[in-house]
Amino acid sequence: MRKIAWMGFLGVAGLLGAALAAGAAEWPEKPVNLVVGFAAGGETDIVVRALNDKISANLGGQTVVLNKPGSGGLLAAQTIANSPPDGYNLLVLSLSHVLRQAADEKTPFNVLTDFEPISRIVTQPIVLAVKGDSRFRTIDELIAHARANPNTLNFGSPGVGSLGHFSGELFKSAARIQFKHVPFQGSAPGVTALLGGHIDFLVTALPAITGKVASGDLRVLASYADRRLPEMAAVPTFAEKGYPAVVMSGWFAFVAPAKTPPAVIQKMDRAVAKTLGDPAVVEALGKLGFNAAHLGPADLKAFIESELKRASEIAKKENIVIQ
């Protein structure tokens, strides 16, 4: 236990050290912190840890996963936004940061201006699920019912402003139907409520319910992916059901503080790209419910811009506000 405590201290000391010693000759001269805004064992943490060793090897320098949980990942983002741009503290940015900015005008950072995009790492399918014995066998039945009986169905999400909430509202406005939103505190209570039949459907990231879908306790009616999910070939996408705008997926990406030297960004991106090209890595990520989906710095920048634009539109239209 003492050893672990020391490791914690060293991590913090490393952070301070990195802050002091700006201006490196050949990056990286010392360990690079990959800062995760969630606790060890969370899904962001798991993905980054699964990649960490390979990234270290491909980079030719040590990378260290550092957990800085708090305020749904905001604390870490704010910290990195204010860190020196020396390449030693990188943030794992996710769609939830973008959604937060879209719903909260007082977000203490700006995903477009405070960060230098490096690489997108993975995407994560989002799905609409019902209980295994639900009366709705297809998404068409659910839509028909909601249209005939406005504001009777209960839609559960992992919280206000969450990925599930935005995705559910996106579906609602595209299909021009009405249903009630019941927010839960995280995905686990929402899944429990769905399993118990207390809500009608849930919109969430697929990994949160993979086990229950496999066992038949839950059924996926539709996915938000742009094409059918390979692991669920029978499940239609919203796009093919006639809602081309209802496409969304969760994602994680590495970003650096703004003004980080391009050489650092390029070198890190090459190491990440090489890691994600490894079939063993792709398979490991697949087991965790994630798709390796690399984007380079320029593509990632455009991608984040379009994600923020769309999220802001949904937030405005459906009045999703966090304050």
Partner: protein, 500 residues
């Protein structure tokens, strides 16, 4: 019998030398952190979680589970001997346990706590094996209305816990609810009472509050006292409770086992609530309720059994539907997911070694704990006998490391110190802190469940009464309140009669 076959398979896994070793490490660390005030199972598991990346999943779970229930044993030691709860679930043990110690009956209190924990823990393991699948289905029938009514019941129990003036308890409970409100409102997404500090979006952590109120304030209080050694003396031969003790404790132990087990299954229930609930129940059922607070052995036996049983119950939702019911279970979930395992209905079928191995290890672990805590109680007492001038700085240090280790948050550290000073003032003014802590946990659950219910049922409040489980909880709450009023009504009647 399928259960027996499954358990035998589990023992096959748990008895592997490697897993036995991890089980022992777990219960040993658990007892240690349980004995040491300030640092609780959550902090310890958080600190040890990264080290489990490198061992097999079942060994990891066996060790982490050991820490959790081991802490429940160790926590009672400090509560009884020094009147500091070693961890939050042992708060209630202080009340009668320390009184017993003052009366020279520390041995009996420690003995009954360990025996009760063992009996509760062992029965729970079998209940877990037998009931896991059907109980998971029962827990699923609890929707927001049921949770709402359960929280009403929980808040009514607060009234029961009140020692001394009820007005003081109400003030503390109200304060707890207010503290629980701080942070992002689940239903609307608005921040409340954060005053612009977005570090408070997640709310005020229960860990810094408990550590501050119970750990730091105790140190502060003791520093100003002229210290005669208040660690109650323990004679080893006095460890075995007398026949009379057993007679008074058997009922509480068995009731505590089932109460704790059941409350442990429910999200938000767990060890802390079950120990409080057991205490309240025993106080009400006792033929001599006035003895509670003055060293009633039933007030030690019941809660100590219940908090152990609750740790077993808490595994049911995690291992059967993959839902953690408290922060410790959330860390266990994390440990499983790190190993690429998705807890859920399939885990029993696909990972029988993990599921039944962990359950069997809990049985072995409880045996180890009985040995660790009875013959070797002297060893743990030695830790407490270290001079206060040395011990208190260390307790503070452990509190600081522990509270920082959970979230790596300096804010939590400051909060703990702040609540330490606040707790010191409360103790000086004779306010009880337990209702504050409990209300802080129950308040947000109560509010969320109420508002979720009203959204789902279109604002119709009748649903709380018409759904059978929810209605039963509300009826129970009403009965509790009425039974509390009865003595008052009787005295009132007598008063009226006398003055006729």
């Amino acid at each position: 019998m399928e259960v027996i076959g499954n358990l035998l398979q589990g023992f096959g896994v748990a008895l592997q030398p490697m897993n036995l070793l991890f089980c022992f490490v777990g219960v040993f660390v658990g007892t240690l952190i349980g004995v040491l005030p300030g640092i609780g199972p959550l902090g310890a598991i958080a600190l040890l979680l990264p080290s489990t990346f490198y061992i097999p999943a079942e060994s990891a779970l066996i060790m982490l589970a050991g820490i959790y229930y081991g802490a429940m044993y160790g926590g009672s030691t400090t509560s009884i001997l020094v009147n500091i709860p070693g961890e939050a679930a042992s708060v209630v043990t202080c009340i009668d346990g320390h009184q017993m110690a003052k009366q020279g009956r520390a041995g009996a209190a420690l003995g009954i706590a360990a025996c009760g924990s063992f009996i509760g823990g062992s029965i729970t393991v079998f209940l877990l094996a037998l009931l896991a699948p059907p109980l998971a289905r029962l827990a699923l029938t609890f929707g927001p209305p049921e949770y709402f009514s359960l929280m009403v019941l929980g808040l009514c129990i607060l009234v029961y816990l009140a020692n001394g003036p009820i007005s003081k308890a109400l003030v503390m409970a109200a304060l707890g609810i207010v503290l629980g409100i701080v942070g992002t409102d689940t239903i609307s997404g608005r921040s409340r009472f954060t005053f612009g500090f977005f570090e408070l979006d997640d709310g005020i952590g229960i860990i810094p509050v408990v550590m501050g109120l119970f750990g730091v304030s105790e140190v502060l209080l003791n520093v100003e006292r002229k210290m005669e050694r208040s660690i109650a003396a323990v004679k080893l031969k006095g460890l075995l409770p007398t026949r009379q003790d057993w007679k008074e404790s058997l009922g509480p132990i068995f009731r505590g086992t089932f109460l704790g087990f059941f409350l442990g299954i429910l999200p938000g229930g767990g060890a802390i609530l079950s120990s409080f609930a057991s205490y309240a129940m025993e106080k009400k059922l006792s033929p001599r309720p006035e003895a509670f607070g003055r060293g009633a052995i039933a007030g030690v036996a019941g809660p100590e059994t219940a908090n152990n049983a609750a740790t077993g119950g808490a595994f049911i939702p995690l291992l059967t539907i993959g839902i953690p019911t408290n922060a410790v279970m959330a860390l266990m979930l994390g440990a499983l997911v790190i190993h690429g395992l998705q807890p859920g209905p399939l885990i029993m079928k696909e990972q029988p070694a993990l599921f039944w191995g962990t359950i069997a290890s809990m049985y072995l672990g409880n045996g180890m704990l009985l040995l660790l805590n009875l013959p070797f109680i002297g060893l743990w007492v030695q830790i407490l006998k270290v001079r206060y001038t040395l011990l208190f700085p260390y307790i503070l240090l452990f509190c600081l490391i522990g509270v920082f280790g959970v979230n790596y948050s300096l804010l939590d550290t400051w909060l703990m110190l702040g609540f330490g000073v606040f707790g010191y003032l409360l103790r000086k003014l004779d306010y009880e802190m337990a209702p504050l802590v409990l209300a802080m946990i129950l308040g947000p659950l109560f509010e969320n469940a109420l508002r979720q219910s009203l959204i789902i049922f279109n604002g119709n409040p009748l649903v709380f009464f018409t759904r059978p489980i929810s209605g039963a909880f509300l009826a129970g709450s009403l009965l509790l309140l009425l039974s509390n009023l009865l003595p008052w009504m009787r005295s009132r009647k007598k008063y009226l009669a006398d003055n006729d």
